[in-house]
Symmetry: C2
């Protein structure tokens, strides 16, 4: 998907919501466990109930990998089921030496047809570049993560600059604002202002609104740019809002609440 | 596998060789392409030819993932075929927030029965800890990688200490020398001396001997400890040494050469 198409989706749906498909057999409603493929059945109903409210779906690869080959089958079916006008993110946190990253790119962009993949920056430029070979595909690079361990190394300062800032500055030279985004944890929304000085134009994928405690209004205030420039993710807060037979309807309500808040934020800065 | 069992293997085989199974349809001998599962057939013949010479096999997950479900089937068959007394490494470079790393741990240690998995440190402690839940399973954490991009962030200094050194010092507190190893790129063998001051007892997985240009004697000189403490990996230099029908025999010769050099190094420091 191109940047222009993504922005058009955001304007049309009045939403910059990304829904995380962290689908776990232990957490989905019990009545689905009799289905042939409970993981896909759950995702299908979530997608049906929310596809007009969100602009992206983000399957968390670990949840599928943990089920082995059956999990990969569920993932492929899910990806095939997502409408083509919704941006897809393989949340995989991959990254390796060049010839190996090329293989990961092939896995997610050729064998599967994801629009983007999350990548870890630790191994540097040649671990990221192979993903740029594909037109209209995106790298979403980890910068500042919202988990407690995010502080262990990402805040390490060198010449007054934290590692995550150095990651932003350096890596912004590797790709463009049309093939690269960054993961920025929402629990540190006040830092978004600083981040926007370094990368004013890139899209940011902001996880952690909801279960991880981020605040949407603050994220929008400090993180938005003239094209919106944000994808805000919610996973558990939407997909596990109900464990009953009504789970998809409740997921829709939760997604709708977020979409309506997002609409207000988009109006404030006149994106719509 | 326990640390004692690994050390016993090293002594019995007079080897600390790890063979990387970076198995690529574009690089395996043409005559294998007619097999039902060419990837597994290649690996099977490599394993048959080298299992008495190496103490570990390291399938590179990207190569299997790039083939989708068929690739995962080849990987599972390969893992099942590796003798139980050979240490297995899922070279996956995973790492995510806690509940997600738990799923990766489940993927590699429960659904599959690997002895270890490579993990990226960027997301910190809670991204690594879930892998320690399993007895006799290992995390192999990226510290210093041998690729050019390894210099982009890993050498960033804070208070006179490079990021990779900080990763070693901090993470050494998370696990033990019996459930944690480190990836240290062989092209920087002279730095091993410094690394050994920080982590004298941990095992190091050293990639890059061969295709990536590392020197075995130097690695042994600066990297060995009283238990050997090294797994030295070679992938392309062994498995792609010949593209002919004799590929497995030639792979054995290359592995034998390395094993013999390793035997000398083990004798020097009286591990055997």
């Amino acid at each position: 998907m191109t940047r222009a198409e993504l922005i058009a989706q955001i304007k049309a749906k009045k939403s910059f919501l990304c829904i995380g498909l962290d689908t776990d057999l232990d957490r989905i409603p019990k009545h689905l466990l009799d289905a042939d493929d409970p993981i896909f059945e759950f995702n299908k109903q979530i997608i049906d109930a929310t596809k007009d409210l969100c602009v992206a779906y983000k399957p968390n690869l670990a949840f599928y990998e943990s089920l082995g080959i059956k999990g990969w089958q569920s993932l492929q079916k899910t990806l095939d089921y997502i409408p083509k006008d919704v941006f897809t993110i393989a949340d995989a946190k991959r990254g390796d030496i060049g010839n190996t990253s090329s293989m990961y790119a092939k896995a997610f962009f050729e064998n599967m047809d994801f629009d983007s993949v999350t990548v870890a920056p630790y191994m540097g430029k040649d671990s990221v570049q192979p993903f740029f070979v594909y037109d209209n595909k995106w790298v979403i690079l980890l910068a500042l993560t919202s988990n407690e361990g995010g502080r262990d190394f990402q805040l390490m300062e060198s010449n007054g600059k934290a590692l995550y800032q150095q990651v932003l500055e350096t890596s912004a030279q590797w790709g463009t604002t049309s093939n690269m985004m960054y993961v920025v944890g929402a629990t540190r929304a006040d830092w978004l202002e600083k981040i926007r000085k370094t990368i004013p134009d890139h899209f940011l994928l902001v996880p952690g609104v909801g279960a991880q405690g981020g605040n949407l209004e603050e994220v929008a205030k400090y993180g938005m740019n003239k094209d919106c420039g944000l994808l805000v993710n919610s996973s558990r807060g939407i997909i596990y809002a109900s464990k009953g037979v009504d789970f998809a309807g409740v997921a829709r309500e939760k997604a709708k609440e977020l979409q309506q808040q997002m609409e207000k934020e988009l109006l404030k800065i006149k994106v719509i």
